[in-house]
Every structure is written in structure tokens, then in C-alpha cells.
Symmetry: C2
Subunit: 325 residues, 2 copies
DNA sequence: CTGAAAGCGCTAACAG
DNA sequence: CTGTTAGCGCTTTCAG
């Protein structure tokens, strides 16, 4: 059994209260006393017991990041990026970070964590469960209409707008979109943004110029082939994400079309694959790290009792022009 | 303040012990009593307090995954894969998972977690600190000579061997390697394996046929260009990982060399980029998920007091032949 | 500046 | 099968 505050108290000849103060509020203890305590602690290899502290304080100093998605691997590049950001922000505080998935977060006990960041398509059931246990909640890459939870999202409309405006600037008017079935929230936003921005620009969306595909590589490739082999194919394709854009590139290669001369291709997310491809893929960068950082900061602020001034934080994307457009 | 076991005890008219039993060992309580307790708990919106439980049991039922790396982003595809595996295995147990980095794991208090999985190049200092606090330790993607810590690693030698044998089967004899400066443990293993397997096969390593590069895309591209523009370049290049292989592919494209006819290229890791490239990249799959799963299982077993039969678990890789060789 | 003591919510040994 | 009770290790009020 490890030594406790009592052992240190005994060895150093001071009370347990003083030992406690030495560790949690050093300034309130005279230096001489403090030194005695620290020396005893060193000898005994004493380290404060985090559980007992939590018990007394009734807070865990832990938050959880719960990933709510069903498709693909859990920590894909997008969520890993968010997680990186959350880690960075959490680690700078006194909090520690638990990571799990919606599916596995079953053993919900009170006081496991002080708050949660829900990433992606969190079910209402999960949200209500968290509220029932008095946890503070922040959503990331999702928002729930009508409930007004604090959330951090990317400006999906702006992402699509940046893409379309770039294609227009390159002289394209027959622009198509390959939408995909991945995160419901994101997909819907990007899809709707495409329709509204095209309308705003006065560009018609021709029949067959919007298709929906599963987000994996082979499905996107097939769908892109179908789009490009129409009688009147688009001259530029906006893919709903880089994975789909990659499939579109493969389709172009298979059909012997030159990118960007015969067909311009543009992704969203700006993932690592963009620079691996040839030609390198133009994409709209979504600042996933920043989304993570901001959501963690928001939750931490909430836990300090501060209400954030803006409950809905929108992270602005940035167009990265490369060689595919 | 949330309700406690006492409130439930009072409302249901049984002792606190019975309430406790109802939640942690239901079978030891008569059904009728149990129902009364559950009903009271429901009414009061009671949920057991995890901290108090930990306090009593003197264990947190939490483990930590500490990522020890300096280059690149924290949760890159490789470590995200390991983390996925750890999450899966952890979530199937009663444990929960903390994720942090070596750099940030400073506020080391006793009883924050019951054990740790150290991923990558853990410093001896960190390991000793963990031991001092009586934590159980498992290393993943690393091992420490002479200390005999439980560890899970990939069979790096076999990965290289599979690659070389494949290239030999394709008729290559002038095989080069692009080694890289990423994880010291892995790099060294792959590099040494290359030399020993080549020797074993009786193939000479020609001057300039082994080069070391930074692992980023542009450095690998430059280095690969240098290797391919020698007087007598290799006919096949084994890259130390897929990122470097990607750079090698770019070098081939830049030099107008056809892959695999003019130059065969082979990666290690089998990351997502392999199928994005054209031609698709042959690579040796490292089962990172499995590494995560096994390391978590090992740690969990250790925490149950079981000593694992094998302290050093080696995960066998698998060659995935695609179009680049 | 330091000490005594109460108590955070739960579990488990023991008694009935 | 159920109740009583003694802590787990720490923080914090209140006194000194």
C-alpha cells in the first residue's frame, strides 16, 4: 500500500491539514514547515491521491470526448484532428481527457467526468442522458436545432462557396457535385449549400450533375465515372470531401481525362491525401484542430462557471489551391 | 446536489448497504427489495457516484494511453489506429481510457489511472515515473532492452523480409531502400532488417542504394529523385513507410519513369494513401488496430493480477500486393 | 501559521 | 437476505 498524507504527517511531525496545504496551497504554509513536509514526502515516495481529492472536491477534473459516428473507423483523419485539438487545449489546463464512442459509453455513472464533448452525430438519447447526470455538454461538428447547446462547427456553407467561386473564377459554369453519405450533419449542409450558392450565382444545376455516393473509394469512383460519362458532363466537380474527390480523380484517370484540363476536381477537408495525389488536389481546408481546441475551451469555461459569449462558434475554412483545378 | 445512496436508502426504506448491493451485486438482493430500490433510484434520478466507488476500491478503473512522439501530428494514422484498438478493447471491459501525450502528462498524481500504455518512443524518465507510482505499464510500438517490460510490437523484420522477397520474386536484384527519420525504434528495425535480409539473400547493396530522408513528402521526393538519378539506380525501392513511398511515387512521376516497369515501389504500413495513389501502392500491412487491442488486453490482464504468458507480443504483418510492384 | 475533526459517498466485513 | 458500521485519503472550517 502506498503512503498517505497521514504517514507524511507523522514523519514530518505536522498535522495532516498542513501536509494537505503544502500540496494544494503551498503559500499558506511557512517555508520551514513546507520544507520539512516535502522532505518527508520525498522519503516516503508520497504522491497525493487523486481519487481522494476528487472525492472531497466532488469533481473529477476530467472531461470526455465521445465520438458519435457509425461509418468508417472511429479516429479517422477528421476526428483525429479534432481530438488532437481537444488534447492540446485540455492538456494546457488541469483537466484530463477521456476518449470513447457513443456506442461504448454505457456505464454512465455520476461523476465519471465533469463534462463531455460530443463529436458528430450524437443521438438525442445520449444528450439527454448526459444532461440527466448534470454534465456540461459541448457539441462539435454538429448542432441540435431548437436546443441551443453550445457547439463548434465549421462554416460548411462558406466552404462550398469558396469552392464554387474558385471554379467560377477559373471559367467553369457547368459545375457538378458528388455528395456523399457520411456525417449526416455535414453532408446535408454541404449539399444544401451547393444548391443555394449555385442559385445565387445564377448557375443552373444540370440534370445528372448532382449525384450521391457512398463515401468509400470504390463507390465514389463508380459514381464519378457515371457522372463523367453522361452526354453533357460537368466541366468541374465539387466533391463533398477529399475521399470522394480521390475517387473522382481515379475516375478521371480511368476515363483518360486530364485533370484539370478536361475536368477540374475540388475536394473539401484538405486532408493529407491532397498532396499525395497527382495532380495535387485543390481543397477547402477545414480547421479540425481548431474546432477541437475551441470546443475544449468552451467546455472548460463552462466548468469554471462562465457562460460563453457565443454559444455557437463557427470556424471559417480556407481554400487551398493546388493543381487539380 | 445530486442524490446519494442515503437518499435512496431513506426513500426505499432499506439500508444503504442494500442499495449498494443492488447496484454492484444485484443477485445478492431479493427481487422484491431490488425493485423497491430501483424504483426509488428512478424517482430520485440517482446514479452511483463513480468517485466514491473508486475511493473505496482504491482503483480508478481507468487506464491511459500516452503517446510519446515528437514528429508530426499526435494522432497520425498509425497512432490513431493503435488508439482505435485500445479503445475497442478498453470499452469491452469496465475500464475507461484517458489519452494524453508524454509531454503533457505532468500532473502525475497517484491514482489517476491504474495503468498506462506507452506508445512510441517513451523516455526512460517517464517509465520510471510510472513505476514509482505503482502503475502497471505496457509498451506499444516500442521496447526497452534490458528492462523486460511487457510490450506489443510489429514484426518489423518480417515486414521488410516480405517486401524484399516479393521484389525478388518479381525479378529484382538491384533493390534500394529509402529509410526515414520517424519513430527511432521502428526506423532502426526496418533499416537493420533491410541490411540483414539482403545479405541473407545474397544480394549486394550497391553504393547509393540506401538513403535516409526526413519523412515528410517533399524531403522524400527529393531524396527519391536523388536515388533514381544515379548512374546505376535501383530497379526497385523499398520505402520505410508509405509516406516516403508516396514521395518516391512523386519522384517517379517527375522523372517520367513508369511504375512499376521502370521502377518498382513498395511501402510499409499499408495506410489509406495506398489505394488513393495511381498505380495503387503495394505495401506491407501493419496491424495497428491489433497492436492496440493486444496492448490493452495485456494491461487489463496485468491489472487483474494475471501475468501474461508472453511478455513480448509480436504482431505479424501481411504483404498487400497492388500495382506499384 | 497550524491543528483537530467532520465528512465527501460508497463498500465490505460482520452480525443478525 | 439485510442492517450496522468503520473506514478509504483528502480538504476545509473553526479554533487556537
Amino acid at each position: 500500500m502506498a503512503h498517505t498524507i497521514k504517514d507524511v504527517s507523522r514523519l514530518s511531525g505536522v498535522s495532516t491539514a498542513t501536509v494537505s496545504r503544502t500540496f494544494s496551497n503551498p503559500d499558506s504554509v511557512k517555508k520551514a514547515t513546507r520544507d520539512k513536509v516535502m522532505e518527508a514526502a520525498r522519503i516516503l515516495n508520497y504522491e497525493p491521491n487523486a481519487i481522494a481529492r476528487s472525492m472531497k472536491l466532488q469533481q473529477t477534473e476530467k472531461i470526455a470526448f465521445l465520438i458519435c459516428k457509425e461509418y468508417g473507423s472511429i479516429l479517422d483523419e477528421f476526428y483525429a484532428g479534432i481530438c488532437d485539438g481537444i488534447m492540446a487545449a485540455t492538456n494546457r489546463s488541469d483537466y484530463q481527457l477521456l476518449v470513447s464512442t457513443e456506442r461504448d459509453w454505457t456505464s454512465m455513472k455520476r461523476n465519471q467526468v465533469d463534462g463531455v464533448i460530443l463529436g458528430g452525430h450524437a443521438s438525442l438519447k445520449l444528450i439527454q442522458e448526459c444532461r440527466r447526470l448534470d454534465m456540461r455538454i459541448v457539441l462539435v461538428n454538429n448542432e441540435v436545432g431548437g436546443f441551443d447547446f453550445p457547439c463548434v462547427v465549421a462554416d460548411e456553407e462558406m466552404a462550398v462557396r469558396l469552392g464554387i467561386e474558385h471554379l467560377i473564377a477559373r471559367g467553369h459554369t457547368r459545375i457538378g457535385m458528388l455528395a456523399g453519405r457520411f456525417s449526416p450533419y455535414v453532408c446535408e449542409r454541404r449539399y444544401n449549400a451547393f444548391k443555394s450558392v449555385m442559385a445565387e450565382k445564377g448557375l443552373p444545376i444540370l440534370p445528372g450533375h448532382v449525384m450521391i455516393t457512398d463515401p468509400d473509394l470504390s463507390a465514389s469512383t463508380e459514381t464519378a465515372v457515371a457522372m463523367m460519362t453522361q452526354a453533357e458532363p460537368p466541366t468541374a466537380i465539387l466533391a463533398a470531401n477529399d475521399e470522394i474527390a480521390t475517387g473522382t480523380m481515379k475516375a478521371a484517370i480511368r476515363l483518360g481525362k486530364r485533370v484539370p484540363d478536361d475536368i477540374a476536381i475540388l475536394g473539401i477537408d484538405d486532408s493529407r491525401v491532397c498532396t499525395a495525389l497527382e495532380p495535387e488536389l485543390t481543397s477547402v481546408h477545414i480547421f479540425r484542430d481548431q474546432m477541437g481546441v475551441e470546443s475544449a475551451k468552451m467546455l472548460l469555461a463552462l466548468l469554471q462557471g462562465k457562460e460563453p459569449e457565443e454559444k455557437r462558434m463557427v470556424i471559417r475554412p480556407e481554400l487551398i489551391v493546388r493543381k487539380s483545378t
